[in-house]
C-alpha cells in the first residue's frame, strides 16, 4: 500500500511548517492548478521520470468484473484500460493514435482495414495477430457474452487477410469505427487463455497486452497490478498500481491528505475543493468531454413549440455566470451540443449571448409577454445548476418549478418514452467517448431516435449525411450546417462542457486525458 508511514511523518513536519506560513500554502493552492492548466507536469523540484514506485488511486465504486468485454461502467474501465490495449487509443491531447493497430483505411463504405502491430505478446506469452482481432470482436458480438458494449452493434464480422491485417465488416457505413475502436469495442483479449480457463476464470484473473499485469483482486478492497516490463511501447515507469474503492468523498480527500492515496478519482468539483490548500496535494483541472444542456419538448403543444420562445430561453440563461458562480469556473461554454475536442465542431459558431431585452422581445413576439409557467427536471447531482437556470429564467417572466430525482431514477426515466415523465424541460449531460460529433447528436436530433423531442426533416437529412459518409469533408460540411440549424432552431438550451477535477499528491506526474479514462502508462512518482 505504498509507504504510508514515511508519508505521514514527512507530512506532519511539512504540514506544521506550512500552516505557520499560511501564505505559502495559499499561493500553492492558486499556482499549481494554473500550472496544471498550462499542461506542465513539472511542479515539484525533481521531475525527471524515474522507474519504480507504487501509485494508489481511488474511485467511488468497487470493480465488478475483470473481463473487459463484460464491463459497462467507468469504474471497471479505469482499471482494465491499464491491463488491456485496444486497436486505437486517445493520447493525452485527445488525438486518435495507433495502439495495437498501426494504421487503418476504409476499403469500401462498410469495411475498415486495420494493419496490426507486430511482435506484441499477451501477458501469458500468447502472440497478438489478426486471428486475435477476429476472436475478440466475435466474442464481443456473441449474444452469449451478453456484453453491454454496444457501439459495434452493426459489425457483422472480421476477415483475416493475413497474419497482421484484418478487415472489420459492418452492415452499414460507419465513419467512426476507428474512433470506436479506441473504446472497449476494440479491446483485444487472448483466445488461447480464455479457451483454456473459461469465461468465469478470465473474469477473475485477466490477461491482456497492456502496460500493467494483473496481480490480485480483493473484491471491495482493491485491484493490484504490476508493471509489464515487456510492454511493446516500453516499460511503464510505475512498478505497482493499486486501485481501491472509497465511496465517501470526504474520506477519500482525507486519505489523500494523509498519504494513503495518490490520486482521487470521481469527485465533483465541490467535493474536490475540500482538498484545496492541503500541503502535498494539488488539484488538476482538465477539460472534460461531458456536455450539459436542457432538452426541450418541441413537439407537444405549449410555449416550447414556438422557436422564438426557445431562442428567448437561450438568451435569458447566462452561462458564464453559471460557470463562475455554480461550477467554480471548472467548465467552458459550448455553442451547441459538441465539445471543443470533438471532430465536427464548428469553431466559428458563437454561443448565444446573454441578452435579457432580446429575450423579452422574442417572448412578446410569440405572445408570452407575461411569461408562462413550466417545469425543469434534473438529477440530484445537477440540482444546483437547475436552480440557477430557473432563477435566471424568472427574470423574463418564465416561472420554473424544479424537480429533482436521484441519478438512477433520472437516467431510467430519461430513457423511457423520450423522457416524457421528466416534463417539458430536463437538464442532461452527455459524453461522446468517440470524440466525434456523431456520438453527441446520435440519440437527440433525428426524429426517430430514443431521446429526441425534435422533428425537423432538414436536421434528419444532415444527420444521415454525417452518419453515412466516410468522407471527412462531407461530414464536416454536414456538421457545420447542422450546428447552425441547431442554434437557430434552439431545440435545447445550450450550456457548457464540464472539466474533470482530480486532486492528487504532488509526487504524481501524469497527464490525464479528457476522456477521464485513467490510463497510467505515462505516470511516474517523483
Amino acid at each position: 500500500m505504498g509507504t504510508p508511514g514515511r508519508g505521514r511523518l514527512n507530512g506532519l513536519t511539512r504540514r506544521d511548517f506550512l500552516r505557520r506560513t499560511g501564505a505559502v500554502a495559499g499561493a500553492l493552492g492558486v499556482v499549481t492548478p494554473l500550472l496544471a492548466a498550462c499542461g506542465s507536469t513539472a511542479v515539484s523540484g525533481s521531475s525527471k521520470p524515474r522507474y519504480g514506485g507504487t501509485l494508489t488511486m481511488s474511485q467511488p465504486a468497487a470493480a465488478l468484473t475483470m473481463d473487459p468485454q463484460k464491463q459497462g461502467d467507468v469504474t471497471d474501465m479505469n482499471i482494465l484500460i491499464n491491463m488491456f490495449d485496444c486497436l486505437t487509443t486517445r493520447d493525452a491531447h485527445n488525438r486518435l493514435q495507433p495502439q495495437l493497430a498501426t494504421s487503418w483505411e476504409s476499403t469500401n463504405s462498410t469495411t475498415w482495414r486495420f494493419h496490426l502491430r507486430k511482435g506484441v505478446k499477451f501477458h501469458n506469452g500468447e502472440p497478438f495477430n489478426a486471428n486475435v482481432v477476429k476472436y475478440s470482436i466475435e466474442r464481443l458480438r456473441n449474444p452469449q457474452t451478453q456484453s453491454p458494449i454496444v457501439e459495434f452493434i452493426h459489425v457483422t464480422g472480421v476477415n483475416v487477410i493475413d497474419e497482421y491485417t484484418a478487415d472489420i465488416v459492418s452492415d452499414q457505413p460507419n465513419p467512426i469505427l476507428p474512433a470506436q475502436s479506441a473504446l472497449f469495442d476494440g479491446v483485444m483479449v487472448p483466445p488461447q487463455y480464455i479457451q483454456q480457463v473459461g469465461d468465469a476464470a478470465f473474469a477473475k484473473n485477466p490477461v491482456g497486452t497492456g502496460p500493467f499485469k494483473f496481480d490480485s483482486w480483493r473484491p471491495g478492497v482493491q485491484v493490484a497490478m504490476k508493471g509489464n516490463h515487456q510492454y511493446w511501447a516500453g516499460r511503464p515507469y510505475l512498478e505497482n498500481l493499486v486501485i481501491k474503492p472509497v465511496p465517501d468523498a470526504a474520506t477519500s480527500v482525507a486519505s489523500l491528505e494523509s498519504g494513503q492515496l495518490d490520486i482521487v478519482q470521481g469527485l465533483s468539483s465541490a467535493e474536490a475543493a475540500q482538498a484545496q490548500g492541503s500541503s502535498g496535494v494539488r488539484i488538476r483541472n482538465v477539460p472534460g468531454i461531458r456536455v450539459y444542456f436542457v432538452l426541450l419538448d418541441t413537439i407537444s403543444p405549449g410555449p416550447l413549440h414556438d422557436r422564438r420562445v426557445r431562442q428567448a430561453l437561450n438568451y435569458a440563461v447566462d452561462v458564464p455566470a453559471i460557470i463562475k458562480g455554480v461550477l467554480r469556473g471548472e467548465a467552458s461554454q459550448v455553442a451547441t451540443l459538441i465539445p471543443h475536442q470533438a471532430f465536427g465542431l464548428d469553431n466559428s459558431l458563437k454561443p448565444y449571448e446573454h441578452n435579457l431585452s432580446k429575450a423579452k422581445q422574442l417572448l412578446s413576439a410569440a405572445g408570452y409577454a407575461d411569461g408562462f409557467t413550466t417545469q425543469l427536471s434534473s438529477a440530484s447531482t445537477n440540482s444546483d445548476v437547475a436552480q440557477a437556470i430557473a432563477g435566471q429564467l424568472s427574470h423574463i417572466g418564465v416561472k420554473v418549478t424544479t424537480r429533482v430525482y436521484d441519478a438512477q431514477t433520472f437516467g431510467a426515466l430519461a430513457k423511457d418514452n423520450h423522457g416524457s415523465a421528466l416534463g417539458p424541460m430536463y437538464l442532461q449531460g452527455n459524453s461522446g467517448w468517440t470524440l466525434d460529433g456523431e456520438s453527441y447528436l446520435q440519440s437527440l436530433i433525428r426524429s426517430d431516435r430514443r431521446s429526441s423531442r425534435y422533428n425537423n426533416p432538414t436536421a434528419d437529412h444532415l444527420i444521415d449525411v454525417e452518419e453515412g459518409s466516410v468522407t471527412s469533408s462531407d461530414r464536416t460540411k454536414a456538421f457545420t450546417q447542422l450546428q447552425q440549424l441547431l442554434k437557430d432552431d434552439a431545440p435545447f438550451i445550450y450550456l457548457y462542457q464540464q472539466n474533470l477535477v482530480l486532486p492528487m499528491s504532488s509526487k504524481v506526474h501524469w497527464q490525464p486525458n479528457a476522456l477521464g479514462m485513467q490510463s497510467m502508462v505515462g505516470a511516474y512518482m517523483a
Binding site: 468497487a62 468484473t65 473484491p219 471491495g220 478492497v221 494523509s258 430513457k415
Partner: protein, 305 residues
C-alpha cells in the same frame, strides 16, 4: 433446558419462514420484477427470455415452491452485475463486517461497563453526571459525523491512525469507535439503572453485613444479576451493529456487507439486495437465538418458563 432450546429453535425457524415469504411477495407486489431487473431500453424479447429463465411465467404457488426450495439449497439468486451467485458474494464480504462489529462491541463493552458501574456506584454525584453526559454524547452523535470527525482529528491533524480501508489492527480502531459509540451509550445507561436496582436488594445488604468489601459486593454479587438485561440488549445490539455498519463502512471504505448493500441498491441489483435482506434477517435471528440460550444458561428462572 433441552425443551427450552427446542422451543426457541422452532420459533426461529418460523420467523425465518415468515421473512422469506414477505420478501417473496414484496418482489411481486410492485408489479413485474423483470421490469426492475432489466435496463430500461431492454426489448420485449429480452423481457420474455428473462421471465422464462426466472420462472415468472408459472403460477404463483409454483414460483413460491421453487423460491422456498431454492432457499433450502442455499440458492439466494444470481447478482446481475457480478454475474455470480449472490450468496458467494455476501460470504466474501461478511467477514469484514463481522470484524467491524466485533471491534465495535469490544469497544462498547470496554467503555460502557466501567462507565455504567462507576456512575451507579457514585450515583447522584458530579462524577455520575459527567459520565452520563459523555454517554449521552455517544448516543446523540450521528455515526456519519463521528466517523469523519475522528478521521479529521486522528488521521490528519494528529496522524496516528489510517484514514480509511481495511488492514492491520490500527485500521480497526476508528471505525470501531464510530460504530460502537451508540451501543456503548445504550449499554452504559442500561447497566447503570440495572445496577442501581440490584444494589438496593436485600441480598446485597446481607453481603455487606457479612463483611464483604464493596468491590467484592459489586463484582461478585451485583454484576451477575445486573448483567442479565444487559445480555439481552447486547444480543439486539449485535444485530443492529451488523446491519448498521452501512454508514460506518461507507465513511471508512470498509469492504463489508454494508458497503455492498449501498452499491447493490445504487446499481439496482435487485437479486443481490434481496439476498442481503434474507441474509441479515437470518443472522439476526441466529444471534438472538444464541443470546436466548446464553440467558437461559445464566439465569435459572428463565429455564423454568
Amino acid at each position: 433446558m433441552g425443551r427450552f432450546l427446542l422451543t426457541r429453535v422452532l420459533q426461529a425457524i418460523l420467523v425465518l419462514f415468515c421473512v422469506a415469504t414477505v420478501v417473496f411477495f414484496l418482489d411481486r407486489v410492485t408489479g413485474n420484477p423483470v421490469a426492475v431487473l432489466l435496463p430500461p431500453n431492454a426489448t420485449v424479447a429480452q423481457e420474455h427470455h428473462l421471465e422464462t429463465q426466472l420462472g415468472l411465467n408459472q403460477p404463483l404457488i409454483v414460483q413460491y415452491r421453487i423460491f422456498m426450495t431454492g432457499l433450502l439449497h442455499l440458492n439466494l439468486g444470481q447478482s446481475i452485475y457480478y454475474q455470480q451467485p449472490a450468496l458467494s458474494i455476501i460470504l466474501q464480504r461478511f467477514p469484514a463486517t463481522v470484524e467491524l462489529a466485533c471491534g465495535a462491541l469490544v469497544f462498547a463493552l470496554i467503555v460502557s461497563i466501567p462507565l455504567g458501574t462507576l456512575a451507579a456506584v457514585k450515583r447522584g454525584s458530579a462524577q455520575d453526571r459527567i459520565l452520563m453526559s459523555i454517554v449521552l454524547l455517544g448516543q446523540c452523535a450521528p455515526t456519519f459525523w463521528l466517523g469523519i470527525v475522528l478521521i479529521l482529528v486522528f488521521a490528519i491533524v494528529v496522524p496516528i491512525f489510517p484514514a480509511s480501508g481495511i488492514g492491520g489492527p490500527t485500521n480497526l480502531i476508528l471505525p470501531s469507535i464510530t460504530l460502537g459509540a451508540y451501543s456503548m451509550a445504550v449499554i452504559a445507561r442500561l447497566l447503570r439503572s440495572s445496577l442501581l436496582e440490584v444494589l438496593g436488594e436485600d441480598y446485597i445488604r446481607t453481603a455487606r453485613a457479612k463483611g464483604r468489601s464493596s468491590f467484592g459486593v459489586i463484582t461478585f454479587h451485583a454484576m451477575r444479576n445486573a448483567l442479565l438485561p444487559v445480555t439481552t440488549v447486547v444480543g439486539l445490539e449485535v444485530g443492529s451493529l451488523l446491519g448498521g455498519a452501512i454508514l460506518t463502512e461507507t465513511v471508512f471504505a470498509w469492504p463489508g456487507l454494508g458497503q455492498l448493500t449501498v452499491q447493490a441498491i445504487k446499481d439496482r441489483d435487485f437479486p443481490l439486495v434481496q439476498a442481503i435482506v434474507l441474509f441479515f434477517a437470518t443472522t439476526f435471528v441466529v444471534v438472538n437465538l444464541f443470546v436466548d440460550g446464553l440467558y437461559a444458561l445464566i439465569d435459572p428462572r428463565v429455564r423454568r418458563q
